[in-house]
Amino acid sequence: MKVRLTSLFIGLVAMFTSAIASAGQGSQLNLTRGVTDISQTVYSLHMLVFYICVAIGVIVFGAMFISIYRHRKSRGVEPAKFHDNLRVEIAWTVIPFLILIGMAVPATITLLEMDDTADSDLSVLITGSQWRWHYSYLDYDVEFLSNMATQREQIYGRLPQTENYLLEVDRPLVVPVGKKIRFLITSDDVIHSWWVPEFAVKKDANPGYINEAWTRIDEPGIYRGQCAELCGRDHGFMPIVVIAKEPAEFEAWIQGEEQRLADAREEEERLLSMEMSEDELMSLGEQVYLSQCAACHQPNGQGVPGVFPGLAGVGVSVGDQNAHIDIVVNGSAGTAMQSFRNNLSMRELAAVITYERNAWGNNTGDLVQAADIHQFIQGNQ
């Protein structure tokens, strides 16, 4: 029994060490080295502390195993009587203290560097909300929402999961390489946390406050991350995708975006006078509903009892039309219902409201047009 015990202990330790060793080879079991100077430094710091811990572990557990093996009653040993030794005790208080200083120095230097957001080339305001990210380039007239693009069919097992399952978005954040990018991070509702492991950037998005972080990416590529702070039901479905491009490509992209957004605004003005047909409204509305509303109110409009109100046959969807427009446009203070005024175009707002008033047997027959939304917003100003 006792010999078996010892060998089992040794076996377990061997298992751990080999697992840890394979973790060290840059496979998926270890921290990423990342693609920035800071992330490389963080990686080395991680490995430094890890190896120090392994060394201490080998000494302490080694002494323990020798003791377990040699100082057993079954070997007929007589127990010693000693119960303290001042010199030894001072040594094992002072030596760990010195080792800790050895870790603290590089950690301090790295932290000071990470917290220095001065002299940035580009600023992006990142706003978390349940459960999507909003990116706004402060130096350009470009802003957009970024939603998870993985289909529900994959999540619920009706379609096979693809390579970037849960880590793909409809509109990724695009940034240039080699530039110091400053992130200003905040939230519209609960606390979120913006994390891209390859940049070693993780910062909480606190509602009402703005946090800062920065990165300078070395290589072009697609980098993926996730929300890292529990933010409610769909916390696990709030990915981040960042595409890093060469500065020239980035310039071309951002100008294209500026143009596209300006065109869209112009188009919207033009479309205010145009009536959409019921079919158009319903099909655009369903699309918007599934991407923006279904996470809470559910695809079938039933909501989640006690948490998110249902829309099928109850509430504003079958009540007063202006109240319905109001809650979608302005949100509802003190609840998870956010304002969609800046996130959706007037056409989309009109379509989704029409959809909600006519889907799932609501059949109010009301058709809301972009002009109605426009009028409502004007009337409120």
């Binding site: 323990m64 003791s67 100082h71 127990p79 999961q161 609840t335």
Partner: protein
């Protein structure tokens, strides 16, 4: 307290008290003021909660067995993680330690009972109601709290369901129970030690509980304050944690962790005491560095008040605040290291045997130390940015809490079961329990380090496919560990029904302490006449 009072009392009540004169049936348990009865109730209650919280963990692991949502809804998943945490911390680990304190502290210091026996009864009996309130929230519309056991605002205020109210009240009741328990421990230790039992002669379990009790009294009111602020923010229009009204959501985290970090030590200091009793007993050699153990415990307790914001490095604290909390956190490694070195030195050149309590204690030393190592890694702020809120953290605190606190509770149970029940536990089943637990717990928690480092956030109901293999292993470990605990239930039930070899007064050759001077099972009343130490 005044010995004259208790002297006159015992003179009056002598004929009542001195025989095992007690009500029978349910009344015995409802009205008992006996520390042994109350201790047993605490221990059974905590084991029940351990199984309840454990089945929630299994629900979590079943959902995480493969990518995609198969079994439960994400909202229910969040309820599971929340209630698993709350129940394990407040329902399983803390009451288990209070149960051990009730049983053992009076017997270890030669006192006839706890100093405040009626309060003792109350502090136990409000607990089941606290958990009934908490668990009944599952039947509310919207279900139980789903904001994590850390209930960060504003997720727990503006964005929560009405179960928050039940959560807050049940937290209040648990807090009251803990504070009363802590007062009782302090008063007992300060006033009821047998003549000659001076502070530096107290067993370390008594010392660590003494210090733990002060921590409890210091921080439970902070918890009460913060849950009340959550309640008023949600229902009475205050804005402690709402920027729109001049508050700050990060203030919540400061208050919560000012409670929460000492709470972590509340759950581990008594473990240190248990292991410091068991290792010398089975190494047949006195504990190495008794005095330094006491000082180390006290300094860990002191430092625990200065490290709370290491849970909050990513909230955007000023750089120098981050540095302060990083240095303070690293400093805790020093006294903790002293303890580990002392235990290893106690084994060194002893004459060890490996009965089940010793096996759990040895596993504790190794696995708790592994949890300590990941703790040092997490203390390093720049690297913590990568670890924070990932499975690396989940692995870390489960090593400290499961293979730390829970293993030490198991060790204590096996160590003192013969004293409590009067029979030896089933040796084969106990060893089976140990080996199944040891192996499965490592299959369960060790690979979590890897998925955490690879980037898997915690508290997510579904994950990217590169994490699939490890999650599968972890889930298998989880089920093995969960079902292994039923072996312990079998062992405990056999002892409770006195099935086993009768235990002698001192079943362990090397054990020291007053509890081994009384017969097994310990009579209903012990040390009516204080022993001489």
């Amino acid at each position: 307290m005044s010995t004259t009072v208790s002297d006159t009392h015992s003179a009056h009540d002598a004929h009542d008290d001195h025989h095992d004169h007690k009500p029978t049936g349910i009344k015995r348990w409802l009205f008992t003021t006996n520390h042994k009865d109350i201790g047993s109730m605490y221990l059974w209650f905590s084991f029940l909660m351990f199984l309840v919280g454990g089945s929630m963990a299994l629900m979590i692991r079943a959902e995480l067995f493969q990518p995609g949502m198969q079994i439960i809804d994400p909202h229910f998943f969040n309820q599971m993680t929340t209630m698993h945490g709350v129940i394990m911390v407040f329902g399983a680990v803390m009451p288990a330690f209070v149960g051990l304190a009730n049983w053992m502290i009076p017997m270890m210091i030669g006192a006839p009972d706890m100093a405040l026996p009626r309060m003792n009864n109350w502090s136990f009996w409000i607990l089941p109601f606290a958990f009934l309130i908490m668990l009944s929230s599952f039947f509310m519309p919207g279900g139980a709290p789903a904001f994590g056991w850390t209930f960060y605002a504003p997720l727990s205020t503006t964005y929560s369901t009405d179960s928050t109210a039940l959560f807050v009240f049940s937290m209040h009741i648990m807090g009251m129970s803990s504070i009363m328990g802590a007062i009782n421990v302090i008063v007992t230790i300060m006033n009821m030690r047998a003549p000659g039992m001076n502070y530096m002669k107290m067993p370390l379990f008594v010392w660590t509980w003494f210090i733990t009790a002060f921590l409890l009294i210091a921080v439970m009111p902070v918890l009460a304050g913060v849950v009340t602020m959550v309640l008023t923010d949600k229902y009475f229009g205050t804005s402690f944690f709402d920027a729109a009204g001049g508050g700050d959501p990060v203030l919540f985290q400061h208050l919560f962790w000012f409670f929460g970090h000492p709470e972590v030590y509340i759950m581990i200091l008594p473990s240190f005491g248990i292991v410091s009793a068991i290792i010398p007993a089975f190494a047949r050699k006195p504990l190495f560095g008794y005095a330094s153990m006491v000082y180390a415990t006290a300094s860990i307790a002191g430092l625990s008040f200065l490290v709370w914001a290491h849970h909050m490095f990513t909230t955007g604290m000023p750089t120098f605040a981050s540095l302060f909390f990083m240095y303070m956190t690293m400093l805790i490694a020093v006294p903790t290291g002293v303890k580990v070195f002392n235990w290893v030195s106690t084994m060194w050149r002893g004459a060890m045997t490996f009965e089940t309590p010793m096996l759990f204690s040895l596993a504790f030393v190794i696995l708790f130390t592994i949890g300590g190592f990941s703790g040092i890694m997490l203390a390093i702020t720049p690297v913590d940015y990568q670890y924070h809120d990932t499975y690396f953290v989940v692995a870390h605190f489960h090593y400290v809490l499961v293979t730390g606190a829970v293993f030490s509770i198991m060790a204590a149970a096996y160590y003192w079961l013969p004293k409590w029940s009067g029979v030896m536990y089933d040796d084969f089943l106990s060893k089976l329990h140990f080996w199944c637990s040891l192996i499965s717990v490592n299959i369960l928690f060790f690979p979590m380090h890897f998925v955490g480092l690879a980037g898997m956030p915690r508290r997510i109901p579904d994950y990217a496919i590169q994490f699939a293999d490890i999650n599968q292993i972890v889930s298998i470990g989880g089920f093995l560990f969960g079902f292994s605990q039923l072996i312990f239930l079998a062992v405990a039930l056999k002892c409770a029904f006195k099935k086993g070899k009768p235990a002698p007064a001192k079943p362990w050759e090397g054990a020291e302490g007053l509890e081994w001077t009384v017969p097994s099972p310990a009579p209903y009343h012990t040390f009516d006449v204080p022993p001489k130490v």
